[in-house]
């Protein structure tokens, strides 16, 4: 049968209301300044002519019918490549509030056509699921009479945590007396800026973060550390005193490690720690993916690769024959590189097999901790299906691991760190402290920091989330100078400081009513409650209603 080509409908033909975001444009307010069309990261908007019917109401006139006028208006592209992402930049720049995106309340048909040219749908950002179990946790064990609640404003609080292997007391005392090696530890703020690479983030973003972190440490005495992600960091940073605020990540592509190893003799101080990435919550089983749009000249130089090529890291480390072997080899090698003065720990994606990894680390005397990244983690680029449906929620995964350590009496030896969805709906301190009370020694935050410190537009309703394409409208995840010059590193630094000062205050506001001030309430599960009975049972905390 021959298709009727005169009807403009192919299988993938979409109209504007098949798309996830629909642009509403008010012609009466539009002055045709063109700012929206030029800012739109996906070039979704174009000026075009519209024809409008002008009904004639003159009853007595002989001539009946309508007249028409032609005017210039905005039209949104219906091709997937140029679809509206809902970022809202057009509304931000419009001087007359004439335009803006609205979520399509109907099911968007576009999703059925997102696989194109034989490729599955890839995107950056987050999982697009507003549900957060962490948001449901509440702190119920309020000190009332015997032990009055503390004054969050005036009392002194010890808020820091320890990153690094801690010996059992007997062994610590023995080694001290014998003058033997004591594993390195760091006293850090329990909210850590999670691994986002210098390639995924723009130079302005990355340096703004580092500047803010340095200010927190040096002026405010909040010992925040940030993780580099895969891809190293600029050589001047490696040789600067700021290195001590950085956790250097090594991942399966080993990107950036040539520069790091070469810089070791010139380092003024040791890095905060080394993170070996085995997995990531947003895309378990996938290696890193820096898409070619983002491999600029600078990034290519840092990573030692040609410009403008896709940089997929292998899903596993080349050394990975078995976890035991890999963990042992890599932890030991990297410890040795800094003469056993730097904590080295692995990062894995949340998984039902996390306990097996953990038990392995318990037996490895050089392992300094374990970071578990849950399914709600973010990413610069991943397959949709990995992000949405692959991985393990963090709360129960962390809790299982912690209780496993408790049963072995090892909970003080291997600190657990949790990540993935901390602050996804904005409740960063509540989420983080919830995880700490479930047993984490600290939490890593990524997306939250982008949102709070740099104004990232993404949200859990799939707004924006084009971090993979190098077109980030805020200049956060782009290597295009035209875009990242929109982001002022000083302003990012200022926001980083605001964020951590806010978290510090909120931590006190959580700890004070619980009567806690002398140490971070790691594992204080008696303080937690949740209004979801199965979840309470699963997490072994109190059900409250």
């Amino acid at each position: 049968m021959v298709s009727i080509r005169s009807i403009p409908s192919t299988p993938s033909s979409l109209t504007y209301n098949d798309l996830p975001w629909i642009i509403e444009h008010r012609e009466d307010r539009c002055t045709l300044c063109g700012r929206c069309t030029s800012i739109c990261p996906t070039q979704s908007l174009h000026l075009t002519y519209h024809r409008q019917r002008m009904p004639q109401l003159g009853i007595l006139k002989k001539k009946r019918g309508s007249e028409y006028r032609v005017f210039t208006g905005i039209r949104q592209s219906t091709s997937l490549e140029h679809r509206c992402t809902g970022c809202g930049m057009c509304s931000m720049v419009c001087p007359n509030e004439a335009i803006g995106p609205f979520p399509n309340s109907n099911d968007d048909r576009a999703r059925f056509h997102s696989h194109q040219k034989g490729e599955a749908w890839k995107r950056g950002g987050r999982r697009n699921d507003r549900h957060s179990l962490l948001d449901q946790l509440s702190f119920n064990r309020i000190s009332m009479l015997t032990d009055p609640a503390l004054d969050a404003g005036r009392h002194e609080f010890y808020l820091n945590t320890i990153l690094g292997r801690v010996l059992p007391p007997e062994e610590y005392i023995r080694r001290q007396a014998a003058g033997e090696w004591i594993p390195p530890t760091r006293e850090i703020f329990p909210f850590i800026i999670g691994s986002m690479s210098f390639g995924a983030l723009s130079p302005n973003m990355w340096l703004g973060l580092l500047q803010g972190v340095a200010y927190c440490n040096e002026v405010l005495n909040i010992p925040v550390v940030m993780c580099t992600g895969e891809g190293g960091c600029p050589p001047w940073v490696l040789k600067s005193p700021f290195l001590k605020y950085l956790v250097l990540q090594i991942a399966s592509g080993y990107f950036g490690w040539d520069e790091i190893i070469r810089a070791i003799p010139d380092m003024q101080c040791d890095p905060a720690a080394i993170e070996i990435k085995y997995g990531q919550g947003a895309k378990p089983g996938d290696g890193g993916l820096l898409m070619w749009f983002k491999v600029s000249q600078l990034i290519a130089r840092l990573r030692g690769v040609p410009e403008g090529v896709d940089l997929p890291s292998p899903p596993v480390h080349q050394t990975l024959y078995s976890i035991e072997e890999s963990v042992m080899k890599m932890i030991q090698t990297l410890s040795m590189a800094w003469d056993f003065r730097v904590p080295v720990y692995p990062k894995i994606s949340g998984s039902t097999s996390a306990k097996a990894v953990l038990n392995n680390l318990v037996r490895n005397p050089y392992a300094s901790g374990l970071l578990i990244d849950g399914i709600d983690g973010g990413t610069g680029a991943a397959y949709n299906v990995s992000m949405d449906a692959t991985g393990h929620a963090i709360a129960s995964n962390l809790r299982d691991c912690y209780l496993d350590l408790v049963a072995q009496g090892k909970q003080n030896e291997i600190p657990l760190f949790a990540a993935g969805g901390v602050g996804k709906n904005g409740n960063v301190t509540q989420n983080g402290m919830g995880l700490i009370m479930l047993g984490a020694s600290g939490v890593h935050i990524g997306k939250y920091i982008l949102q709070a410190a740099a104004g990232c537009l993404g949200n859990e309703k799939n707004r924006c989330n084009v971090c993979n394409l190098g077109i980030c409208p805020k200049g956060i995840t782009s290597q295009n100078p035209k875009l990242y010059r929109r982001l002022d590193p000083d302003q990012v630094a200022q926001r980083v400081v605001d964020v951590f000062m806010g978290i510090r205050t909120e931590m006190k506001k959580i700890m004070a009513p619980l009567g806690r001030s002398q140490s971070l309430p790691v594992g204080m599960s008696d303080a937690l409650g949740i209004g979801d009975e199965p979840a309470a049972r699963r997490l072994k905390i109190r059900y409250v209603c």
């Binding site: 064990r141 000190s143 009479l145 015997t146 032990d147 009055p148 503390l150 009392h155 002194e156 010890y158 820091n160 320890i162 801690v166 010996l167 059992p168 007391p169 007997e170 610590y172 005392i173 001290q176 004591i182 530890t185 006293e187 408790v406 049963a407 072995q408 009496g409 090892k410 909970q411 003080n412 619980l514 009567g515 806690r516 001030s517 002398q518 140490s519 309430p521 790691v522 594992g523 204080m524 599960s525 008696d526």
Partner: protein
């Protein structure tokens, strides 16, 4: 909040005098319990020999007492003295107290060759076995089984409990008496939840609430030491930590305060042994308490100690004169125990202090966490 009173004197005295003193602090407890720990025992009706284990507890039924006798007999203990309390049951709230026992036993002959450590472990294991046996039907409560130490715990108003057990009759005296009047708070009324807590010669009692209880309990339980069980009260961990620090880690007594309330990082940076203490703080991080608490304790060599949590929201005081010293959670308690003393020498420990009354009782000593730490001295 509970009230604490403790007296240590070269001359043995009746525990009843401490109970009378506790009346001065009566607004602080609600009659939900009294606990007494006596150390340096002296019986009017029996010539007690140092080293003989004393078993303290309550049998709630004839059958339980019978089982107890059988178990001890099976293990080779011989009863030497069974203190008969002049009980006035009408003064006791609980109705299932078949017999309060305070008995001196002779160690099994087979233990003769054993090291001290072996003997001490076996004594603890015997107590734990009895305790476990009693928990099955809740008909036997065992507080301690240790040389030179007796423990009495009962629900009720402290002085009334003293009258009920005839403690005023001077037939039992001791050189140290620790007493706690209980204010029931979070946890159910349970005899095992009464202070003082005791393990292998180490006894402590506390007031206030330790909000870090659950993580500390999990940590101590995870050490898998047979004696670290119970935890019907959040304060039991204080005794176990003191035991762990001095007996297991073999650290000097000074280390206790560094473990439960370590100095801040900036303070440790200036401390002469700051590096060691910082590592100790990290290694023992799960035992950091979160008061406010006042802790009083006594050690096997009759050293007594008094210390506060770091928040220091408690007015605990020590006062006395050479030969006798009293500590109480409130100053009026000290006044009642040793009224004629030079009050200007009274002392209220600050957050960094541990007050020690050595066994010679000539004076008390004030340690500060800022002082050099005796790195090379063991417990």
């Amino acid at each position: 909040m509970c009230r604490l009173a403790m007296k240590t004197a070269a001359e043995p005295f009746s525990p009843y005098t401490v109970l009378q003193a506790m009346e001065a602090m009566q607004e602080g407890y609600d009659g939900s319990g009294l606990g007494l720990l006596l150390r340096g025992m002296n019986f009017a009706d029996f010539n007690y020999q140092a080293g003989e284990p004393i078993l303290s507890g309550i049998a709630h039924s004839e059958a339980a007492l019978h089982r107890l006798n059988q178990m001890l007999q099976d293990r080779g203990f011989t009863l030497k003295y069974d203190h008969e309390f002049q009980v006035r049951p009408e003064l006791i709230e609980a109705k299932d107290r078949h017999k309060y026992f305070l008995r001196v036993y002779k160690q099994p002959l087979s233990w003769k060759e054993w090291s001290r450590e072996q003997v001490e472990n076996e004594l603890m294991l015997t107590r734990l076995a009895l305790r476990e046996d009693g928990l099955r039907d809740n008909d036997l409560t065992v507080f301690s089984f240790w040389p030179d130490v007796a423990i009495i715990k009962e629900v009720g108003w402290p002085l009334q409990v003293g009258d009920a057990l005839g403690l005023a009759d001077n037939r039992i005296t001791s050189r140290i008496c620790m007493a706690q009047g209980r204010q029931n708070t979070n946890y159910g009324i349970n005899l095992y939840a009464c202070h003082p807590f005791f393990i292998q010669g180490v006894g402590t009692m506390t007031n206030g609430e330790n909000t870090a209880f659950v993580p500390i309990k999990e940590y101590l339980t995870g050490l898998h030491r047979p004696g670290y069980v119970g935890y019907q009260s959040d304060s039991e961990v204080f005794a176990h930590i003191l035991h762990y620090v001095t007996r297991e880690l073999k650290l000097p007594l000074e280390a206790y305060k560094h473990v439960i309330t370590p100095l801040k990082t900036e303070e440790l940076e200036k401390h002469p042994q700051g590096r060691f203490l910082r590592g100790l703080r990290d290694a023992c991080r799960r035992m950091i308490i979160d008061g406010p608490n006042c802790v009083m304790g006594s050690m096997p060599d009759e050293t007594c100690l008094l210390l506060m949590d770091t928040k220091k929201m408690r007015p605990a005081t020590i006062g006395g004169r050479p030969g006798e010293w009293a500590m109480a959670s409130e100053m009026c308690g000290v006044d009642a125990m040793i009224p004629h003393r030079d009050k200007s020498l009274d002392f209220q420990p600050m957050r960094e202090n541990t007050v020690i009354v050595p066994a010679h009782r000539k004076e008390f000593v004030i340690w500060s966490q800022f002082d050099p730490y005796p790195l090379h001295r063991a417990a």
